[in-house]
Amino acid sequence: MLKRALAIITLLIIGYWLAQGLAGVPFGEDRMLVAQYYLDHVKEQTGAVNTVTAVVVNYRGFDTLGEVTVLFIASTGVGALLWRKKRERTAKTEGSIVLTTGTRLLAPFIMLFGAYIFIHGHLTPGGGFPGGATIATAFLLLYMAFTVYEIPHKTFEKVEGAVGMAYVLVGLIGLAIGGYFLYDWIWQDWGFGVDNVGRLLSGGFIPVIYTIIGLKVGTELSGIIDNMLKEEVSE
């Protein structure tokens, strides 16, 4: 009974405090000021046509670095929890003829589509995370269809590490040239693709960073799938 009363009093205090904080915020205004600023300035400031990806990579690039780090930690955690000395694939039954034939036909095109999504992130909807996840589904198909298939671990680990460092490196080059982390030096200083807005070779460093994120997400999710599928083998 005492606990319940204490809980109710705490809730009331927190509620009053939140209401006090929100009372000063103007509500129901005609338009969001920050969003309108992005919509007005996105073309001359970032060179991207797709405002969403411009916000995600350019204006809020540091948050995206944090998201990539979260995914990296999740992948590392899966790898650490499921670590055994010797693990192999133990599946016995091959996939059915529909699955194997469909995988042979579709897997390259799914990977191509994923690469398309992250390379054209500044023009069409999508970006690094959907593109990387699409590539990972292609590897999932390969794993389900063929009992002996494994991702090339050495290559994947190297790509994952190199690409993670490349993101920070791009940010640090921006720090050296423009004065703050993840400064868009390709667009602001070089003016690369200024006459080209709306085509592939524009958008400053958005395609570069999205290629980095796409490769990282794709390799990491494939690694998670690989970790979940393999089982311990006694020697």
């Binding site: 606990k3 319940r4 969403v52 990806t53 999504i117 909807p125 999508g126 970006g127 995370f129 959907p130 996840a133 699409t134 990972a136 589904t137 999932l140 389900m144 999710l221 998670i224 799938i225 979940m228 599928l229 089982e231």
Partner: protein, 94 residues
Amino acid sequence: MNCMACIEYIIIGTMIISAILAVEWRDLLAATVGMAAVSLFASLLFFMLQAPDVAMTEAAIGAALSGAIFIFAIKRTQRFETEEEEKPGWWVRW
């Protein structure tokens, strides 16, 4: 009421039904399919609400990858939930 809104309401209704089924089914494989169906309809809804990038992520992660990972986990453990009597949750007990 125009028809776009009808379709949206139908999708929302299907989502709620599949979510309830995913919780209620004792067969965990079926429950995983129900969970993937929630993600699939959510991605349809995102597409209709003009967020195609979120729709792509939801379809790839929610429907495909997480469903597959749940199925791998079920394959290693057991398919059916064990019967145990339902205890009231902590919010009732105190």
